[in-house]
Symmetry: C2
Subunit: 495 residues, 2 copies
C-alpha cells in the first residue's frame, strides 16, 4: 500500500491560487469546450479501466463486477452531464425586453454563472462514481468551476490514479492547469483548510453525518459563508401497507433481503427501516425475510474501520430496550465482513427511542411493528429527513392512506412506490437529496444533471448591448438553446 | 400612534401550530387556487389603497406619490407571481420514462414542492413591496407555504392593516386559517423564537447586515438548519470608464445625483460608491455632481433611528483618513432629514480601509479616484459581494477593460451597463441577490417570480402509477405546462 502524505498549508495555498487563476479562464470557455473536456475524461477513464478497477478492488474489497459497473456509471455521468451542459437548460436563460409603452422599463437578461473553485470530498463507498471524477466533480466542471479533490484515505491510490487520468486530459486538451487539483489528507485539518480557504466557493461531500455536518458548520462560519452540499445518508424507511403485505409478503421479503444486503449494505439508500402493522401478515413477512437473510453470506466491507463501526453500531442497536434480534446470516463471518442482520421492535419503542432512528451503515434493517395505521402515521411524522422513502401499497392501500402519504412526502427527496430504494438512476428527473439530516440542502440533488446548479448562481445583465452579452443571452440565440423570453419558453431569437 | 405588544412564546406557539396545520391543507391545493388567493389579496389591497397609503405616510415619512407607486408595485408583484405560479415553470417538472431495453430502469418524475411555513421579516424602507404582503410573502404563497410575518416596528400599523386585508381574503376565499399570521415584535427575542421554531422551514428578510446575519446564524444553528434568505444591502459600485466620462460627464453626474438622493437614498441599490480614474475628466464630473447635490433638498428619512444612524455613519466616514467632503446640500436640514452628501478619497486609501466599504444607508456616495485602470481592477477584485454593479462605458471602454468586467461579474448579482442601479424591475429575468454579504444566498433572487423557488425543494416519484401522481407530472399533462420529458422540453403528453 502506498502511503500518501497529508497536504500542508503551503500545498493548499498553491493549489487554491492555481484554481482561482484557472477559474477566470475556465468560466469564459464555451459550454461546448467544457463538455468536450468532460467527455475526454470519460474516454481516458475507459482507457484505464482495467488498472483502475484492479486498484480499487485491492483498496475497497468491492467486487470486480461492481467496480466495473461503477466505473461505467462514472463514465455515463460525465457524458450525460456534458450533454446537459451543452443543452444549457441549466443556465436558466431568461430575457425580459423593455415594455414599449414604459420608458423606465429596462432590458434584463439572466443566466447562471459558475460560483468559483469547488472542493470535493469523495465517498468511501463509491470510489469512482462519487469520488475523484464522480458526480460532484462532473457537475462542477459543467458549471464552469475548477475542482479540488480531497482524496478519500480509504482509496487514496485509486483516487490518485483517477486524478492522474484527469491531469492527462487537462494537459492534452490545453485546459488551464489549475482547473483540477488532488490533495491527500487523512487528518481533519486538511479538510478544514480547504473549506475555509477564501478561494473556495462551494463544497461537495458524500459521507457520514459527523463529517458532513462539520464541513457545513465550517462553511457557515467563514467570513463569507459558502454552500456546503453534504449528502450524509439516511435510513430510508419502507412502509408496508396491509393489503399489499397480505398478497405479496414473499415477493417483498425477497426483494428486501436482496436490497438490504446489496453491496454489503453499504449504500446511502439502504433500507434500514421497515414499518408494518402488527399481525399475522407482518409475522409471515418477517419469517420469510428472516430465512432469506439467514441464507445470505457475509461479505467484506469497504475497510476495517467500516466493518468495526458496523459491528459496534449493530451491537448497540440490538441491545436497545425492546429490540429483538430476528435473524442473522447463518454463514460464518470472517474478518472485516458484515453479517446480514434483521431486528425488530414495537412502534412505541421506536417512537420513544431516537437512537433507533440512527443509521447502522451496513447490511442491517429494523422492522418496526406498529399497533395500527395511526401509529404508522405518527412514525412518519416523527422521522428525520430522508434521502428516500418507500411505500409498498395496493391501490386500496394507497387510497386509504392519504394522511400517511402526505407525511412521507414531507420527509424525503425520493418517494418510491412498490420497489426498493437502492439503485439511484442517473437521470435529469432524479432527486438525490432530502431534508436535513439526509443532506444539508434539500433544494439540490447530487445525482442527475440538475446537480450542476449547485455550483452556479444567477447574474442579470441590465441594458447590455447585444454584442457584449454572453452567447446564451444574445438576441439571435446562437447556441439555439431554450430560453424564457418575456415569460414564454422558446428557442426563437429575440425580435 | 398605536402601540403593539411583542408576541409572547405562547402566541408564537399558537401561530406556528396553526401554520403547520394549514401547510398540510394548502400544499395540496392546486396552483390555480394559490394564484386566485394571491390575486384576491391584490384586489383587497387596491380596495384599501387610500387608507393604507395614509397610514404608511404617517409612519414612514415617505411621500404619497412614492407610497402609491409602491402599493401598485406590490399589487403587480402579487399578480405577476400568481401568473408564474400557474404557468408552473417554477416547479421544474421533469420526467424520465424507463428505457425500453433496460429492465432495471425506472420511471422517475420530479417537481418542486413547498418547504413549509415561511417566516417573513419586512423591510423598513419598503412598507408595502418588501413587507407584509410583499415579495417574500407572495413568493411563499405561490410556492405553497403558509406565511408568518413579523411586523416591522417602524410601520407596525401599516403592517397590521395589510395583515387584516390578507385575513379578510383568507376568510372569504375559505383558505385554511393558519395560512397567514402576523405578529409584532420590537425585541430580538420574537425574531429568534420564530426562526428557531421547529415548524419554521425557511426565512425571508430584508434589512441590515447585522440583522440578516443574526437570523442566518440562528437558522444554521438549529437542530435542523433551514435556509435564511437575507437581503442585507450593498454599496453598489459604479465604475466610470475614461472615454465615457470624457463625453458624458454632465449627463452621468445628473443621473447619479438623482439616483443617490432618490427616496432619500433609502434603497438597497443606492449607488454608494463611484470609481473613476484621477484626472481632469473625473474632476469635471465631480464638480458637476457636487453642484447637483448642493441643489438637492434634504428630506425626512423613514424614522428617527435611521436618520440618526445616517448622520453618525456619514460623520464617521467623513472623518476617515484621506476622505474629503466634496459637497453637501446647501439647503438647511430639519430634524430627521438626511442631507445629500458626496465625499472623495484615493484608490489606495479605499483599498486599505475596509471601513470605507461599508454602507452608509442614506443619500451619500463616495467617489474613489484611482491612479490608473490597474488600480480600478484591483478595487473590483477586493470589493465584497454586491447586489448590483454598474459600468459606465463607451464601446472602446468596454473592449479595453475585459479584466475589469470579469472581476465585476464575480462580485454582483446584477450588472448594469450605462444606467443607474436604483429601480429594481419586477420581471422573471431579474436577479436581486448577490454574493455575501449582499445576501446570504447568491443562488436565489428576492425580486421576480424565480423568488418562488426559494421556498420549494424537489421531490422525485419513482414508479408511481399515473393516477396517483400530482397533476404536474401526469402522463396526459392536464395542466398543459412545460416539462422536460426524457431530456426534451415539451408540453406534449408522455406517450
Amino acid at each position: 500500500m502506498i502511503m500518501f502524505k497529508d497536504a500542508m498549508s503551503d500545498e493548499i495555498e498553491t493549489v487554491m491560487s492555481a484554481a482561482w487563476k484557472a477559474f477566470y479562464q475556465y468560466k469564459k470557455m464555451s459550454l461546448k469546450s467544457r463538455a468536450d473536456f468532460m467527455r475526454s475524461i470519460a474516454i481516458e477513464l475507459k482507457n484505464q479501466e482495467e488498472d483502475l478497477v484492479k486498484t480499487a478492488m485491492r483498496e475497497t474489497n468491492l467486487t470486480e463486477e461492481r467496480l466495473h459497473g461503477e466505473l461505467t456509471r462514472t463514465i455515463f455521468q460525465l457524458n450525460q452531464y456534458a450533454a446537459a451542459c451543452e443543452r444549457a437548460e441549466w443556465v436558466e436563460a431568461a430575457i425580459d425586453t423593455p415594455k414599449p409603452n414604459n420608458k423606465s422599463s429596462h432590458d434584463i437578461r439572466k443566466m447562471l454563472i459558475p460560483l468559483g473553485p469547488v472542493v470535493v470530498f469523495g465517498a468511501s463507498n463509491f470510489p469512482f462514481a462519487y469520488s475523484t471524477a464522480g458526480g460532484d466533480t462532473a457537475c462542477a466542471f459543467a458549471a464552469g468551476c475548477p475542482v479540488i479533490v480531497k482524496a478519500h484515505p480509504a482509496h487514496a491510490e485509486t483516487s490518485e490514479k483517477v486524478a492522474n487520468a484527469i491531469f492527462k486530459v487537462v494537459e492534452k486538451s490545453k485546459m488551464p492547469k489549475g482547473i483540477f487539483a488532488h490533495v491527500h489528507g487523512a487528518s481533519i485539518e486538511v479538510g478544514k483548510m480547504l473549506v475555509m480557504h477564501p478561494h473556495t466557493k462551494a463544497v461537495g461531500f458524500t459521507g457520514s453525518f459527523a463529517g458532513g455536518k462539520q464541513l457545513f458548520d465550517w462553511g457557515n462560519q467563514r467570513k463569507d459563508p459558502i454552500p456546503v452540499f453534504a449528502e450524509m445518508g439516511s435510513i430510508n424507511p419502507v412502509f408496508l401497507l396491509p393489503e399489499k403485505l397480505k398478497t405479496s409478503a414473499e415477493e417483498i421479503a425477497q426483494m428486501y433481503a436482496a436490497s438490504i444486503t446489496q453491496g454489503v449494505g453499504q449504500f446511502c439508500t439502504n433500507p434500514g427501516l421497515i414499518i408494518g402493522i402488527k399481525g399475522d401478515d407482518l409475522k409471515n413477512f418477517i419469517s420469510i425475510l428472516a430465512k432469506e437473510i439467514e441464507k445470505t453470506a457475509p461479505h467484506k466491507m469497504l475497510h476495517p474501520g467500516i466493518a468495526k463501526a458496523f459491528d459496534e453500531k449493530r451491537e448497540k442497536a440490538l441491545h436497545e430496550k425492546n429490540v429483538t434480534l430476528v435473524s442473522v446470516s447463518s454463514i460464518g463471518k470472517k474478518e472485516n465482513e458484515g453479517t446480514p442482520t434483521i431486528a425488530t421492535t414495537s412502534g412505541e419503542s421506536f417512537l420513544n427511542n431516537p437512537l433507533l432512528h440512527q443509521e447502522v451503515f451496513g447490511p442491517y434493517s429494523l422492522v418496526v411493528q406498529c399497533t395500527d395505521q395511526k401509529q404508522m402515521v405518527e412514525i412518519a411524522r416523527h422521522l428525520e429527513g430522508q434521502l428516500t422513502s418507500t411505500l409498498m401499497a395496493s391501490e386500496n392501500d394507497f387510497l386509504s392512506n392519504e394522511e400517511l402519504i402526505e407525511e412521507i412526502k414531507n420527509i424525503c427527496g425520493r418517494f418510491v412506490l412498490n420497489g426498493v430504494p437502492t439503485g439511484v438512476q442517473v437521470c435529469l428527473a432524479m432527486q438525490h437529496g432530502g431534508p436535513f439530516p439526509a443532506t444539508t440542502d434539500s433544494r439540490f440533488t447530487s445525482v442527475g444533471a440538475d446537480g450542476v446548479k449547485r455550483f452556479a448562481r444567477p447574474i442579470a445583465f441590465q441594458n447590455w448591448e447585444n454584442k457584449f452579452l454572453p452567447d446564451e443571452l444574445k438576441n439571435e440565440n446562437p447556441l439555439k438553446i431554450w430560453r424564457t423570453v418575456n415569460n414564454e419558453i422558446t428557442k426563437d431569437a429575440v425580435k
